[in-house]
């Protein structure tokens, strides 16, 4: 590879600009955030001193301060509120409206897009796939993460072992998909296999297969969701491992004195103790699984019956120009996610109360 540094110069300059801009903006924000509270505290101090000096006789007190605090809260909330409005609320309403219109968004069609969603065999396969994803990924990823966290807990090479599993978290979905595409890669029989899976398959005497075309028993969908599991297991492991470490040592010791074996320790003590963390992990993975798009798009583009709601939504809206049907899929996805989010929020609130 010849690499002409001079020719690439402008790109490096851009990179440098980017870095400088990032440091200036983020650093500036941090400085402001750091400075404001102490400034306010100093002002309050001064005012309280002044109040104390006049013996607190002046009734300048609570009313005005409450007003001022309300104003401050509004000031802090405004930027986030504005961005939410522009980025989430308005598009959501617009998507909802579009889902009742035809492909070119010119005429109202009522519930036609929704009846399409539940009647076409292709879309039904998409729904089936989404169901497979949302059942298997949280279940398997959490189980793998949990088993790994328990096995590796207080082992000698715990830190190394944990970072090995956690590493995939740092890779983007697209990057991970490309890696796994190599794992599933196909070369004709007789040629040198470059895909790990086919090589193993051949060693055991099989004929090399185009794995991502295997639609039987939704095998290709399962192969796709393995990528997601590979990524999410690390997340599950880290959170659950922290929860396991937070179990008080004396409870574990009390259980040992009470006579538990390793199996009972896991089911009767460890698992109930980390239940809140377990729920958080399952819910978080469920939500990101429902929204999965990158993996499907990178590996099969939703072909060969591997589409999921999010990838189908993108294809309908932006590839086939069927904005109405795409929007209907988007709304449907939203409806699927909402109950999980509500459950999650309830759960968090309950935890905070106890």
């Amino acid at each position: 590879m010849d690499f002409d540094f001079a020719a690439e110069g402008p790109k490096f300059a851009m990179l440098l600009y980017g870095l400088v801009a990032f440091v200036v903006v983020v650093g500036g924000l941090l400085l402001i955030l750091d400075g404001i509270p102490s400034l306010l505290a100093r002002r309050r101090e001064r005012r309280e001193l002044a109040l104390a000096a006049v013996g607190g006789a002046v009734a300048l007190g609570p009313g005005r301060r409450r007003n001022w605090e309300w104003l401050m809260a509004a000031g802090f909330l405004f930027p986030a509120g504005l961005l939410l409005l522009i980025g989430v609320v308005i598009p959501a309403i617009r998507t909802l409206l579009l889902s009742f219109m035809d492909g070119g968004s010119t005429a109202w069609v009522g519930l036609k897009n929704y009846s399409w969603l539940f009647s076409q065999s292709e879309t039904l396969i998409t729904l089936r796939n989404t169901l497979i994803w949302v059942v298997l990924v949280p279940l398997v990823a959490t189980t793998v993460g949990l088993v790994y966290a328990v096995l590796v807990d207080r082992a000698r090479f715990e830190a190394v072992a944990k970072s090995l599993i956690f590493m995939p978290m740092a890779i983007s979905f697209v990057g991970a998909s490309i890696i796994w595409k190599f794992v599933y890669a196909y070369r004709p029989e007789g040629a040198e296999q470059i895909g790990l899976l086919n090589q193993i398959w051949v060693w055991f005497g099989g004929e090399p297969k185009q794995w991502l075309l295997e639609q039987g028993a939704a095998l290709n969908t399962v192969l796709l969701l393995i990528v997601m599991i590979w990524i999410q297991a690390g997340f599950a492991m880290v959170v659950l491992s922290a929860a396991i470490k937070a179990i008080p040592a004396d409870i574990v010791e009390a259980a040992r004195l009470d006579g538990v074996n390793a199996w009972q320790m896991f089911w009767r003590v460890t698992l109930p103790s980390i239940r809140p963390a377990l729920i958080v992990v399952v819910v978080t993975i469920s939500i990101s699984t429902l929204k999965v798009f990158d993996i499907v798009r990178t590996m099969t583009n939703g072909n060969y019956d591997t589409g999921v709601v999010a990838s189908e939504m993108y294809n309908q809206a932006f590839r086939y120009g069927q904005t109405g049907q795409g929007s209907a899929l988007a709304v449907f996805l939203f409806i699927l996610v909402v109950p999980i989010v509500i459950f999650q929020i309830r759960n968090l609130r309950k935890q905070r109360e106890s």
Binding site: I251, E253, A254, A255, L257, D258, G259, V260
Partner: protein, 363 residues
């Protein structure tokens, strides 16, 4: 119903030189209430955890009823433990907490129910059986932890500072409850505390530890009357004993204008082994009187008077051998001196303790 024997039991934590528990020899009789006491880091908790099987024994052996349990896992030892923070299972109700160990041993449902109800009755926990630990007060949690140990009907109870998280009033109350309970159940108990009052009031015998080494084990009265060395003398009793190292004369120990008599035997022993003409002598504040100027007491200048209601502690200093030494005397409230006064103090005869100036052991 069991005896416990530590025989040269030693624990050296990995990466440390000094043993946390150093060749501990201790025999605990059947049904006895033995208290391990000492300052923090003295190895008392480690000793208990070695008996529980939660801590390895690096040297020596531990046996329960002449059965060597040194390397047995905790569950094979038939012991129950009450932890400092109670260690209740937060996801189980009080009933389930108490029943857990029995359930694991496949005890019949009826038997579990009988034993849990019985223990709950004993500890006044009946109305809380369906509550989770977080809905209980500190004192109730402590009782559940006791209940969990009782239903096991173990050979030995182990208690690791079970009262240290309770407030002062509840601690005194629970102290006597535990002692009564133990007396009624008759189960051999090893109890760890850093509080000498707990040790003295609860234990049939008390084992005092320092730096991993057992200093003395005896009845509370014997510990108080005849401490084996300077450490035990200073540790047991409140306010602490006045302990000073002073010049040795033919008659005894020379304090300022006062000589505490020692026997010829004691003087000889004090001189031996590098005693160098010095002797360490202690006398308890409560064994000391304020006397008249002509009665052979030692003059001290009063610097603080603590009025305790029933009586008072008088703190003061005297110059001995050029250095200013502090003394404390417990006195009747009617004879309370004022700050700055000079009073004469004198230990009652035969109520002072002599120790070797170098080794610190009783002579």
């Amino acid at each position: 119903m069991a005896t416990v024997t530590y025989s040269k039991a030693t624990r050296i934590y990995p990466g440390t030189e000094r043993p946390a528990v150093d060749h501990l020899d201790l025999e605990i009789g059947d049904g006895e209430f033995l208290v391990l006491v000492g300052p923090s880091g003295c190895g008392k908790s480690t000793s208990l955890r070695m008996l529980a099987g939660l801590e390895d024994v690096d040297e020596g052996t531990i046996s329960i009823d002449s059965r060597d349990v040194t390397h047995l896992p905790p569950k094979a030892r038939d012991i129950a433990m009450v932890f400092q923070n109670y260690a209740l299972y937060p996801h189980m109700t009080v009933y389930e907490n108490m029943a857990f160990a029995l359930k694991l041993r496949k005890t019949s449902k009826a038997e579990i129910d009988r034993r849990v109800k019985e223990a709950a009755g004993l500890l006044q926990l009946e109305e809380y059986l369906n509550r989770k630990p977080k809905a209980l007060s500190g004192g109730q949690r402590q009782r559940v932890a006791m209940g969990r140990a009782i239903v096991r009907e173990p050979q030995v109870f182990l208690m690791d500072e079970p009262l240290s998280n309770l407030d002062a009033k509840l601690r005194v109350q629970t102290r006597s409850q535990i002692a009564t309970l133990q007396a009624n159940l008759g189960i051999t108990t090893v109890y760890v505390t850093h509080d000498q009052t707990e040790a003295m009031t609860m234990g049939h015998r008390v084992a005092v530890m320092l730096d991993g080494v057992l200093q003395q084990v005896d009845t509370p009265r014997a510990l108080y009357d005849a401490p084996a060395n300077v450490f035990v003398a200073g540790f047991i009793g409140s306010p602490a004993m006045n302990i000073k190292t002073v010049q040795l004369t033919e008659q005894g120990a020379a304090f300022a204008e006062m000589v505490l008599p020692l026997t010829r035997q004691q003087v000889a022993t004090a001189h031996a082994d590098g005693g160098n003409g010095k002797v360490t002598v202690g006398f308890r504040p409560e064994d000391t009187d304020i006397v008249g100027a002509s009665e052979g007491g030692m003059p001290i200048v009063v610097e603080l008077v603590e009025d305790l209601g029933a009586d008072a502690n008088v703190y003061g200093h005297a110059a001995i051998g050029g250095a200013s030494e502090r003394f404390v005397v417990r006195t009747d409230r009617r004879h309370m001196p004022n700050m700055g006064d000079t009073v004469f103090i004198k230990p009652r005869s035969e109520h002072h303790h002599a120790f070797h100036a170098v080794s610190g052991s009783r002579i």
